[in-house]
Amino acid sequence: MTDIQQIVYVVEDDEAVRDSLELLLKSDDKPVKAYERATTFLKDYSEQMAGCIVLDIRMPGMDGMELQKKLNDRHSILPIIFVTGHGDVPMAVDAMKEGAVDFIQKPYREEALLEKIEAALAQDLEQRKTLDEKQEIIRRIKSLTPREHEIMDRMIEGQANKVIAIELEISQRTVEIHRSRVMHKMGTHSLAHLVRMVLSVKNLIDAR
């Protein structure tokens, strides 16, 4: 579990809007970091960033939609709230399809924006927690010996100890020892929990 501080990243080219939003969020005790250009933000970006992005959809140079695509390419999970102008709803819809959490139309009410920011931060926390959990599972899976890994796969498939022993041509007793090591290393006592844990990271493992 990481303890990275959540920050609201504001990317907005209009100086007045950027400055006022920064002040507003600070007055609400939110840590804020503001960027004038999408490219500058992209340069600063790292996987370690936590929080959310309040992103102006229209900007000269790289616009909000482009930045979203670039971040998706880098598997960013930072939630994005798009700030749109009048008549940009079709663009916002496209942005939502690309995974943005929400959008808000200028000029907005502070409460509405803060609500959306709170929701985005909660989602980020949740995602980050899940991600941390998954990473823990993967770390544990990685600590298994090849033989233990093989036995775990068969356990998940529901093979009985006897079947495993015959197929691997080892004694049933040996299977039992491996089995208890797997359960210990994976930090669980129930086969059902083990199955759930492994399945939850299946995509991540397959992707490697």
Partner: protein, 517 residues
């Protein structure tokens, strides 16, 4: 001899004497000299022959029974048909009294009896020639008079001949028609009193007066003249002095009624005004269309300061909610609110100015200020089109004389087109707006894009109304631009730079210092 015949061939000489002997001598003397000779032995007969043949010369005896030579001469001179013939008296009477009486009755000459044939021949020859020349001269005179009358009669302008006091000595038929009365009623009247209502009050300031009195030619249009019935009409006239050497004899006045002319001029002016009105109307429509197209961008542009204001206001409230508010910080935030509200109203001001209906008329304008304002306006579009605008204006550019809104409309139109062209070519190069002075005393503004360039048939169609290459365009943009620029004495066009893209330009006349309003 033939020569003599031909010289005298058409000359008729009438010989009048009651004495047959004398007649015979005269006849003998003058025959073979080529004259047609007529003979009469008494007064009545002489008159009758003279009536019928109009002789050039009459040799007339004074002492005759019944009617003497004096009476014959008198009657000849009284009859216009025979008045011009030369009467040469023949008489033995040779005293001064007789000669004087003869001359006083119109006689041309006198031959004393007994006469010498040489003298008779010489005198007849002289008088015959004089009369003949005189008759030719009269014939020529009549011809000229006829020509002159035909000319004067056929001219539609009225012509007056005035003496130095302004009395009408001559008037042509057109003068009668214009003044609405017969020519004879005009002749002899005073020009000034007849045709000007103010003749009595200010005689010297009247038209033609200076020509009559000082010999100065005049030419005026749209003066008020009176007809014979004292109704007025607008007139144009030219007056030239009648000079005989250095001596002034009055004036010749040529004038015409310009009522119809003024009416058609007014109709033309009205038509021109209508065209101008419609041009302004179309320009306005075009501006509204442009604003319609820019609405989304404009709304966005206004929303920026509004968003900032809302944020700052909320921040200010929070600052005030704490126990010991930081007044300095609060002040700063309120200043920011103020600045943003100015920013919003500036955008709205620019839009309202642009949408204003009637054109404000020509003003002396700074090209750089105008183009900078237009650039900021077009920024709205630059954002939508992901484009940029670069302004290159030399420091010492002279002012122009033009309608600011219409020039801005043209510049905005060209810049927006350039931005669109740049976007469709997916070029990252900015639209370049530049200005410079041309050798023709104009300021030339150029808008250069790096877009796909114009179609080949652009020359023929581009500035035509309702020609458009855009899906949503109405095709009134460029045609309106052209009519606006041309109406301000400028020109508009485009070029295809070698490196690609398009360069549109327009020119406007430089304001000369006296234009300053």
């Amino acid at each position: 001899m033939t020569e003599v015949v031909s010289e005298n061939s058409e000359v008729t000489v009438l010989l009048v004497d009651d004495n047959p002997q004398n007649l015979k001598v005269l006849y003998e003397t003058l025959k073979d000299k080529g004259y047609r000779l007529l003979i009469a032995n008494e007064g009545e007969k002489a008159l009758d022959l003279a009536q019928r043949h109009q002789p050039e010369v009459i040799l007339l005896d004074i002492m005759m029974p019944e009617m003497d030579g004096y009476e014959v001469c008198q009657r000849l001179k009284a009859d216009p048909e025979t008045a011009d013939c030369a009467v040469v008296f023949l008489s033995a009477l040779d005293d001064l009294q007789t000669k004087v009486k003869g001359f006083s009755l119109g006689g041309a000459d006198y031959i004393s009896k007994p006469f010498q044939s040489q003298e008779v021949i010489a005198r007849v020859k002289t008088h015959a020639r004089v009369i003949r020349l005189e008759r030719e001269l009269q014939a020529r005179n009549r011809e000229l008079q006829g020509d002159q009358n035909r000319i004067l009669n056929s001219i539609s302008e009225g012509i007056y001949g005035l003496d130095a006091q302004g009395t009408i000595e001559f008037a042509n038929p057109a003068a009668g028609v214009i003044m609405g009365c017969p020519i004879k009623d005009l002749i002899g009247r005073n020009f000034f009193e007849t045709h000007f209502a103010t003749a009595a009050q200010s005689p010297t300031s009247l038209p033609v007066n200076a020509t009559c009195r000082q010999g100065i030619a005049e030419n005026q249009r749209d003066i008020r003249m009176l007809r014979a019935d004292k109704t007025g009409f607008p007139a144009e006239y030219r007056s030239t002095p009648k000079l005989d050497g250095d001596e002034l004899h009055g004036a010749v006045v040529v004038f015409r009624d310009i009522t119809v002319e003024l009416e058609s001029e007014q109709a033309l002016d009205e038509a021109r005004e209508l065209v101008q009105e419609q041009r302004d109307q179309l320009a306005h429509t075009s501006r509204l269309t442009t604003m319609g197209e820019m609405a989304a961008g404009v709304a966005h542009e206004v929303n920026q300061p509004l968003t900032a204001i809302a944020n700052y206001a909320r921040v200010s409230k929070r600052m005030m909610a704490v126990e010991n508010p930081n007044l300095t910080l609060l002040q700063e935030t309120l200043d920011k609110i103020e600045a943003q509200s100015h920013r919003a109203s500036e955008i709205i001001r620019r839009i309202r100015r642009f949408m204003k209906k009637p054109a404000t008329g020509k003003e002396v304008l700074s090209v750089s200020v105008l183009l900078e304002d237009t650039r900021q306006f077009a920024e709205v579009d630059a954002r939508n089109n992901d484009g940029a605008i670069e302004l290159v204006i030399p420091d010492e550019l002279p002012d122009i004389l033009a309608d600011p809104i219409q020039v801005q409309q043209v510049a905005l139109n060209l810049i927006r087109n350039a931005l669109e062209a740049t976007r469709s070519a997916e070029s990252a190069l900015p639209v370049e707006v530049s200005a410079r002075v041309t050798s023709e005393g104009c300021v030339r503004v150029e808008v250069r894009d790096h877009g796909v360039g114009l179609a080949e048939d652009a020359e023929e169609n581009l500035f035509l109304p309702f020609y458009t290459t855009k899906d949503e365009g109405m095709g009134i943009g460029l045609s309106t631009c052209r009519s606006l620029i041309q109406a301000q004495g400028g020109d508009i066009g485009f070029e295809r730079p070698e490196e690609g893209g398009t360069r549109f330009f327009f020119t406007l006349p430089v304001a000369i210092p006296s234009d300053t309003v």
